[in-house]
Symmetry: C2
Subunit: 339 residues, 2 copies
Amino acid sequence: MPSQPASMRDVAHRAGVSLSTVSRVLRDAPGVAPEVRQRVQRAADELSYVVSRNASGLVTGRTGRVSVVVPFLRPWFFGAALSGISDALREADLDMLVYQVGETRSREGWARALPLRRNTDAVVTVSMDLSEEECRRLEDVGVPMVLMGQKVSGRASVYIDDRAGTAGATRHLLNLGHTRVAYIGSRSEAWYSTSSRHRLEGYEAAMAEAGLSPWPVVKAPGHTGGELAMGELLSDHEPPTAVLAEFDDIALGAHRTLRRAGVRVPDSISLMGFDNHDAAAVMDLTTVDQAPYDSGLTAGRLTVDILNGAARHTHVEMPTQLILRQSTAAPRTTRGLFP
Amino acid sequence: MPSQPASMRDVAHRAGVSLSTVSRVLRDAPGVAPEVRQRVQRAADELSYVVSRNASGLVTGRTGRVSVVVPFLRPWFFGAALSGISDALREADLDMLVYQVGETRSREGWARALPLRRNTDAVVTVSMDLSEEECRRLEDVGVPMVLMGQKVSGRASVYIDDRAGTAGATRHLLNLGHTRVAYIGSRSEAWYSTSSRHRLEGYEAAMAEAGLSPWPVVKAPGHTGGELAMGELLSDHEPPTAVLAEFDDIALGAHRTLRRAGVRVPDSISLMGFDNHDAAAVMDLTTVDQAPYDSGLTAGRLTVDILNGAARHTHVEMPTQLILRQSTAAPRTTRGLFP
DNA sequence: CTGTTAGCGCCTTCAA
DNA sequence: TTGAAGGCGCTAACAG
C-alpha cells in the first residue's frame, strides 16, 4: 500500500492513457473504447484508486454530499429517519453529513455556523420545526432544502398528518365505547412544538365531533411527564377510562404509574401512544405507527430527485397506521378503577 | 443573497486586500495587522462567506471530515454513540460523514466501496466487529482509524469489558441468594459476535466461581428471542429463579412472556438486562449501563487527538455500571412460580 | 475515440 | 506585514 494514495495521474500512467480518458472512464462518460475502458478500470482497481470528491467537486460545483440536520441524535426516531435517508442517498452514490445542532440551536445564526455553503449539495432537516426566518436563513446557503417532519408551503416537505393521526387514535378509543378520554401532551421550550400542537388539535377535534369535552393534561416531555400526568389523572374524582398520549415515551411513563398503582391495562384503563416506538411492541401498547424509516427514505429520494432537476417543492404526506395491541379495550361497565 | 456564493476573491475585493491576506485571516494565521484582520473579517461576514473545504482540502490534503461507519443506524445504541462522536468532532470543527453498511457488509470489499480514500481524514467504526482482514483493508485507505466497541491490539480502540460486565451482573444475582441463574444469549450471523461471546463468558466465569453450573439458552437476537427463551425456561421441570439477558431488548422480550404467563417480577423470577436501553428505565429493569454516548465522545476525541498527532493506537476501556432497579430481588424460599 | 489546455477555490511558497 | 505566482486533483471544453 502506497503511503501517498494514488492519483488519477498514476492510473493514467499505469494504463498508458491520458488523464481525461481516465476521468471519462471513472465517470462512466461515453466516448471510450471498450477495450481501453477495461484497461483503465483494471489499473484503477489495482491501485485501489478512488476519485477525490474534493477535486472533482471543485470543478463540477457538486460536492456529492448531502447534509442532514437534526436537533438530537439519541432519540429512537432519528436513528430510523437517518437510516432511511442514508439508504436513499447511497442509491444515488451521495455521502451523508450529519449535524446535530441540539443546544446550539438557541444561539443566533446556528444555520450559518454550519459549514454548509459550498460544502454540500443539499440540506435535509429532520423534525427541526423551523420558523420562516430560519427557513430563509438556511435557504441563503443557496442549496436545495428538504424538510422532513414539517410542512412548509413553497418548500419541499415530507411529513405526516399529526392531526389526522391523533384524531384517528381518539376515534378508536371512542368507538370502543369510552367517553372519558384524557390526553397527555407535552410542552418543551423549542422542539416539536408544531407537531405537539397538531396532535392535541386532532384529539380535540375528534372529541368535539363526538360531542365530548376534551381533557388535556400537559407536562414536560418524556416518560417522567407521563408518570406525573397519569398520577394527576388517577387522583381525579372520576378518572378517565382511556388515555391517549402524545407519544409512546409519555405513554410508557403513564404505564409505569398505572403498574405501580396496581391499575390494570386495559381492564381498568385503556392506554394508547403514538409513534410505534421499539418498546411499544414489547409493552403491548396500542399506538400509531409513523414509519420514520420510510419518511427518511422518501425525503432522501426527494432530495436526489431535486438534485437531478426532476422535482421541486414537492409535498409528500406519509400515511400513519393504527397498530392495535393489548393496551386498549372496551370500558368496563362497572364503576371504579379496581375490579 | 447572491445566486453564486461568495468566493475568497469577493471577500478580498470588498476588503481591499489580496487573496492571501484573506486566507491568512480566515485561517487565524499570524502576520496580519489587527486592523486589516478586522476589516477582512467584516467583509467575510457581510458576504456570509464560508471557506470551501473542498478547495482548501485540495491544497492541505486535509478534508475536515471524519467518516463514521456503523452496521445499522436504527438501534438505540448507535444514536447515542453517534451523538457522542458528533459532539467531539464538532469541538474540533470537523464534519461527520455517516456510512451505514448494513447488508452490504457481506459483499466482498465493502470497505473499498466507501469513498473514504482522500475523502476523509479518519475513520471511526462503531460495533463493526471487524476481522483482522477487514481491519487491514480499511487501513489500506491510508487514514487513521479508531474502533469503537471493539478491542484490537495495535489499533486505537474504545470499548467496554463485556466479560466483566456480565460477570458483575451475575454476581449481583448470586449475591441476592439465587442459585438457579439462567442466561439468555443470542446468536446472529455476522454482528456483535465477539461481544456476544464475551458476555456469555463473563456469566459462565461468575457461575463457575460460585461453583454453579451455567445454564445458557441461545436464541435469535431481539425481543422475540427473549420471549421464546423465557418460554423454554418456564417449561423446565425446575425453572430458574433469576435470568440474565445478553441485552435489554432480550430481557424486555422475556419480561413480556413472564407478564403473559402471570409470573411476577421480581417476586417469582428476577430479571436482568444489559445496556440500559431507554425502555429499561420505564420497565424498572435492573441492567448494566454502558454509556454509549460517553464512548462515542471518547472515540471522537481520540480521533481528534490522533489527527493532531497527540495520540496513537491508544486503548481506552470504558467503565460499565450496574443500575439497580425493581426487577431483581432475593429469591423466595418457597418453591414454585406462583406464590 | 483520444489527448491537450485551462481553470475550479484555496493555500503555500517566495519576493517585495 | 502584504502581494504575486504556482499548483493541489480533477473536469470540461476544445483540438486532433
